[in-house]
Symmetry: C2
Subunit: 412 residues, 2 copies
């Protein structure tokens, strides 16, 4: 970085973090006419890369998190137009696929628990369909024999998170925002106000607003008073990417809880442009027709959940457990090619809900704590923070997720 | 490749294959004053890389393979001076470690089978020590509880096969041999005599003798009459490399057969110069003292054995099974970092013994078919082929392994 950087004019918005959240914010802010700088030492190397890309408001539903469900549903509803707009702007598909999700029950007790969840979802207006064993095998022909049933969440879809990140990066680069691949050393305060950041090489970047969107690392960046750091903690997750014959892939997302351990299998489209993009959804629960296709496609298996600080080394035991459980649900996994093991850090928050909005420090906005739902919440977070910065107010849908909410458990 | 290559003078010896076997032959031939060219499109990318480096004449012993045992023992006996000479010539350690090997019994039936093997080995003059469960746990403190016993093969050691390959490459390069990183398109015949090879780019390389040492690929190189191709077939093997805390590593090689599936765990020395090199062996069965060390070291887990043609993709099921079985023997494997999955092709022969020596075609020597013992047999193969080419005769120890032996089963 040359000293001339020090004379870079102040940006309206400086975003720390070029994962999907930071980039969506940057892109939407540029569309509102704000000048934007994004800083990240390794864009897209974190949770945005490790994620599987499930858009799963219903099958990620937990009792007591109704307020989060509403946010998740609102963001899921934006995905068709979000995907179409990104494709129009960048010429790239993000692999948005309206396939639906099947949850397989491992045993009778698990089936009973799934039926309870289905009932809970129905009271929230989210119809899911319970499945007999026969119906389950009809939807996923390669599934392990003998499973007693399950449920179908016809509106839990997927996006290819790596394509999403690539498209957002292209959209941001094409929007006139500045992208700086460098570590932030600290957030700078002038009195009580944040007025920019200093990079690790000493370069100071001035900004009207700093948006802290550094995922699990958001609480570690120096410069803020202790109490002002976002209350996020890393939750290590591992995913495994396989390649397998298309005819052995599950035709839709397959989830299950094998002897107490949750696992999911997310089938990508075969190579080439993703089908199911844009405005013409395939039939939920069936996925695009593929009978005539040959070749291979990617299957993403996830995810471990470990409290291990900022350690990102892949753990042999987690890989073993993911392969074991995936293979228990779908025996063809055993014959698949192992392509990649990936490890990332989810930004966990005290109540598992995101922290989005202004803070007690003037000039500092945060957008982090998305935990298991970062990819899903990308559209609404980008839109919401851009509205905040351009119009002065967060949209009502985000009201409950302000970072300095006093009693986090109240938003559950 | 420039046309000037076509005017390269004929080498005395042209070796096809820069794995450990081909390189050892090349090095020893140069030491005998022969001019040498080695051709390989990707030196050290095959079985030499995937191997675990066990030097295990006793724990790889199979009933009926006594003749192979003698060869394996003879090559194992050369390792101390071979390692010392490579270190002197190149300044590199090859990680030769005289640790001994423990075989853990999974259950009472397995223990009985191990005792039979111990008796068989004793009749062949190879004393192995049977172990009680208590003795087993004393030798490998981190071993799974409840195993009934096992045996100790105090003379089954290890080398770091990747360091071995690197040192041989350096020795060959320093010896004045020519190394050409290119694929061989065919072996050239003039009448009934091999007189060189042609590379994929059309370059012809002349040679007095061609040594075919291309491992599992040795039967696939064009130019030879059908009946003259070495009878080798690929046996796919996978290994997994982990990194773990030194204090959780087994202090010596740990093998076992978990519910019928063989698995081995080969602990490398912590980073830095390997101990146990050269002339001063550590106490067998105990390994170098490490109580005071900290840090991490590599553990190699192997190996699957699959008939899958020339497919080299890592199979998820094989990785799963290796991790499962390794973890069953040594629970700390679960916490280790997964560093690498590697896949290679063993050169299997009709009788599991190598094919070394002249063929029915003048000017063609083969050195392949080493199957599970390529690293172990590297010293004796290099010495033997160099003797053949410099003196005209194979040493007696290799007599039984000539490639055109009529009834392969007779050498078992």
């Amino acid at each position: 970085m040359e000293p001339t950087e020090r004379r870079r004019p102040a940006a309206d918005v400086l975003v720390i973090g070029a994962g999907v959240i930071g980039l969506a914010i940057a892109w939407r802010c540029r569309q509102r006419g704000l000048s934007v700088t994004v800083v990240d030492p390794a864009p897209g190397s974190g949770a945005s890369r490790t994620a599987a890309g499930m858009l799963a408001p219903v099958t990620e539903l937990h009792y007591g998190e109704q307020s989060l469900l509403a946010l998740n549903l609102a963001s899921a509803a934006r995905y068709p137009s979000f995907a179409a707009e990104l494709q129009e702007v960048t010429g790239r598909s993000i692999g948005y696929r309206r396939s639906g999700t099947v949850v397989a029950a491992w045993d009778a007790a698990d089936l009973a628990a799934l039926r309870d969840l289905a009932g809970f979802a129905a009271t929230l207006g989210q119809p899911v369909q319970t499945l007999t064993g026969r119906e389950l095998r009809a939807l996923v022909p390669g599934i392990a024999p003998g499973l007693p049933g399950g449920l179908l969440a016809p509106e839990d879809h997927q996006v290819d998170n790596r394509r999403l990140h690539g498209a957002l990066l292209a959209a941001v680069a094409g929007s006139g925002a500045a992208l700086i691949d460098a570590p932030v050393a600290r957030i700078d305060l002038a009195g009580d106000r944040v007025n920019g950041v200093t990079l690790a090489d000493g370069t100071a970047l001035a900004a009207g607003t700093v948006v802290l969107a550094a995922g699990a690392h958001s609480g570690r960046i120096a410069g803020l008073p202790e109490g002002a750091r976002p209350r996020v903690h890393p939750v290590k997750g591992q995913t495994v990417r396989l390649r397998m014959a298309v005819e052995t892939m599950p035709p839709l997302i397959l989830r299950g809880t094998v002897k107490g351990a949750p696992v999911y299998l997310v089938p990508r489209d075969p190579d080439g442009p993703a089908s199911g993009d844009g405005a013409a959804p395939a039939r939920p629960g069936v996925g695009p027709a593929r009978g005539g296709r040959s070749g291979t496609a990617e299957l993403v298996i996830g995810a471990s959940s470990e409290e291990a600080g900022f350690d990102c080394t892949p753990r042999a035991g987690a890989v073993y457990e993911l392969l074991r459980d995936a293979q228990s649900l779908l025996p063809a996994v055993s014959e698949a090619e192992l392509v990649e093991v990936s490890t990332g850090l989810r930004p966990g928050s005290p109540d598992n809900a995101p922290l989005i909005g202004r803070t007690g420090i003037d000039g500092l906005v945060v957008a982090t704590g998305h935990y298991r739902n970062g990819v899903l919440l990308t559209p609404i977070t980008g839109d919401g923070v851009a509205a905040l910065l351009a119009d002065g107010d967060l949209p009502p849908a985000l009201d409950a997720f302000q970072p300095e909410r006093r009693a986090p458990q109240e938003v559950r």
